[in-house]
Amino acid sequence: MPTSEELNRLAQAVARSADRQAFAALFKHFAPRVKTYLVRLGTADGLAEELTQEAMVSVWRKAATFDAERASVSTWIFTIARNLRVDHFRRMGNRTVEAEAPDGEEMPDTQPQPDELLLTHQRETGLRQAMERLPAEQLRVLRLSFYEEQPHAQIAQELGIPLGTVKSRVRLAVLHLRRLLDGLE
């Protein structure tokens, strides 16, 4: 499995020189995982296949916007797949809409400050280890949040705990992650 540095280099090669081999390598690693992500969120196999290819086409076209200082390539591709999925189901639910919003981005396009960039970099490198150190019940709530359509109500039901407990676990998980990343724990 390629390391995150290797994946970052591949993404940069795609961005700088439209490197098709680098793109194929990114595809090999990410496309099957993007499809798993979509299927786990309840997308039928055929549609998941189609959206996966669409997501990878976006990866090619948006490669110039990839900024290794700001996010890892996994995070960048995750946000592309997430937005594509959200936009797709939104369009399906709104057939009366006249014009499609071009490449709807969830996040406002804001430039981070230099100190934010530094934090982002530190954060990304330590995140995996930090997540491994997270208490199991907190990690579970985070994981379910990314794979459930309506996170809180469904998670509460699934785990048989009150909604407030889900919210407090999310808060604890985020607090915990931040402290682990800051080296406070």
Binding site: F78, V97, P102, M107, L127
Partner: protein, 218 residues
């Protein structure tokens, strides 16, 4: 530089990062992020959690021609969708900017709601059913007293109000549910404009408030 005191909870930001937050709520949270580097960092952390999880997922089986098809698609000419047409929105006080998160959304002109109270219905291009609106309330006026059957998100765009617990100024974010009876009062110094999104039905008390409920279809 505004000082932001009230931020969205982690669970809202997590839902945004995971792509599961309702569209109406997303634009209100996004309008907060435009002005809040602190919350942008929190969202980026959560997105990085999503990215780390994506990386750790077991690979699915792809169609044999998946890569070839994708390669063919990247060679196809890109359809230019063009810039979004600038949609109409109500007149704003000098110095107030239309939130970027509402780009492409249309909003009605200011409509009379009561003495010193006006509102504008915001229509999202990709979710016509979302209950998103702007409230423009004059200095010293009360917002209609109401409780919530569900969740209401409010972002202060201009001016300030006090809700009996705390002051909410420009850039501040408020989440309210049925547990608290709201009676926000706008500060005496000037009017206040808020962007709000409602999930459930808002239970207003009083005639004007009921009219608002009927107008907004809540």
């Amino acid at each position: 530089m505004m000082t932001i005191q009230h931020h969205p909870d982690d669970d809202l930001l997590l839902a945004l990062a995971a792509g599961s937050l309702a569209r109406g709520h997303s634009v209100v949270v996004a309008s907060h992020l435009e002005h809040c580097a602190h919350c942008r960092q929190r969202v980026e952390l959560l997105e990085a959690v999503g990215g780390t999880m994506l990386d750790a997922l077991p690979p699915a089986l792809l169609a044999p021609e998946a890569l070839a098809r994708t390669m063919a698609a990247i060679d196809a000419p890109v359809e230019r969708t063009g810039a979004r047409p600038s949609a109409p929105h109500p007149a704003l006080p000098a110095g107030m900017r239309w939130p970027q998160s509402l780009a492409g959304c249309s909003a009605t002109r200011w409509r009379w709601l009561g003495p010193g109270m006006r509102w504008s219905r915001v229509t999202l291009p990709d979710d016509a059913a979302a209950n998103v609106f702007l409230l423009r309330i004059g200095a010293g006026k009360n917002l209609p007293a109401h409780t919530h059957s569900d969740c209401e998100l409010t972002q202060v765009l201009y001016g300030a109000f006090h809700d009996g617990r705390a002051r909410f100024g420009p850039g501040d974010f408020d989440e309210a549910d049925g547990s608290f009876e709201h009676q926000p009062v706008v500060e005496a110094g000037g009017e206040c404009i808020c962007l709000a999104s409602v999930d459930g039905r808002v239970l207003f008390k009083g005639a004007i408030a009921r009219t608002l409920g009927a107008l907004v279809g809540m």
